[in-house]
Symmetry: C2
DNA sequence: AAATATTAGTGAACAGTGTTTACTTTCTGA
DNA sequence: TCAGAAAGTAAACACTGTTCACTAATATTT
């Protein structure tokens, strides 16, 4: 999959980079970006803190790589569902549910993937270009599905797939964030008896698709 | 509104506390929690850093107070809309839209209000009890509206208002977070021509309400 | 093979952060 | 007036990300 780099030096370098990323991944998954300190990370892999900076320009760059890899995972999963040959409505529903499921399996990753480009006022120019990012690719899968829904006649032809995709994405995102930030969700209090999370995800996904189907001009 | 405290000492103390909070509010609105440092804050109000700790147990406690006050603002606004006597469907739509609007007017506040209780594994016991929080109150307003919708016949009686409120809340939350994290949203690239944000919010709100109306068993 | 240039890796420091402790000053209630 | 409480502080602690000057090992070129 990864292009074979030539020289042994480059291979060695790549290997160490991967070891750093792997160690970082473990800590990040448990403790998030704040919990991941360069010093602790360096100790984990028996290097000096400064050594990390020979492989990554900054902590942000390192973390960005973790986030991108994570969104690759989401993309793969959603893509797999979208390409199935099951009936359209169920497939659409599964796409939404899968997104939320995979997203919430690594809460810190998902939260950081959005909080990163964050509220900070910095110009978006720094971003690798939404269209090219894994996030952008995931969005395109979603838009493609809606396009298909329109062509098939499941959705009305007045619908702008791009617009609809954004609305649905927002709804998926919202549920994912809720679960990420409120660990007990859909329960609001720790010991509240309620619908199971899995059932709630499906309920929400249905709700979203229904809103789309019920659109009339 | 606030109970009149007796002694001059207490009044003075309360006043200084308020000054700290006010100074913190300004910085926080512009730069978020990370940008708000105790040292800079102390300098702003001509105190030593340690002095802050005579008024707040920790930076977290200080920030929590800002967040709670902010959610009070959201609550007031949503409540105002919910209590109007306009037709139900439009009112429901306006509630969703208002939530998103007020939320995104202070992006750092809104993001922090959720990121705070965050992915961190700590027991939720520390929370002031969801039911009693302003967040909980806002949720109750939403649930009340849905309840009304069911009684009025706008929604089917099979709907569980509590469940439905969570789903709708997730959808609102999702749009708010999108706008907070992607400043150009609903545009995905900086200079993309697209629907205005205000129109998008209404489109999304309609979508959400429609999903509810179209629920059958 | 020898000399040179590049890269890997490090220890120590810089500039920040939240927070605590010991200490002084100021105020207040009896 | 005088003891006790509260307000306020300087200095330190234990962290953080990051940079710099330096050495040691490896590649490259002559």
């Amino acid at each position: 999959m990864t292009a074979n780099v030539s020289s042994p030096a480059e291979r060695r370098r790549h290997k160490i980079r991967a070891r750093i990323l792997s160690a970082a991944e473990h800590v990040f998954a448990r403790e998030g970006a704040e919990g991941l300190s360069i010093r602790k990370l360096a100790e984990n892999i028996d290097y000096s803190p400064a050594a990390i900076y020979k492989y990554f320009k900054s902590k942000d760059e390192l973390v960005d790589e973790l986030k991108e890899t994570f969104f690759e995972l989401i993309l793969e999963n959603v893509h797999r569902i979208a390409d199935q040959s099951t009936p359209f409505a169920a497939r659409a529903r599964d796409c939404v549910a899968t997104y939320v499921r995979v997203a919430t399996e690594k809460p810190h990753h998902y939260a950081a993937a959005f909080a990163g480009e964050a509220t900070s006022e910095g110009p978006v120019e720094n971003e690798p270009g939404f269209e090219l990012s894994k996030k952008g690719a995931a969005f395109n899968v979603l838009r493609g599905m809606i396009q298909e829904g329109v062509e098939i006649g499941a959705f009305r032809s007045e619908i702008d797939p791009s617009l609809a995709a954004k609305s649905i994405w927002a709804s998926m995102h919202g549920l994912a964030m809720m679960i990420v930030h409120i660990p007990s969700f859909p329960a609001l209090k720790p010991a509240q008896e309620t619908m199971s999370r899995e059932d709630f995800i499906l309920f929400h996904a249905d709700q979203v698709v229904r809103g789309m189907e019920a659109y009339h001009g």
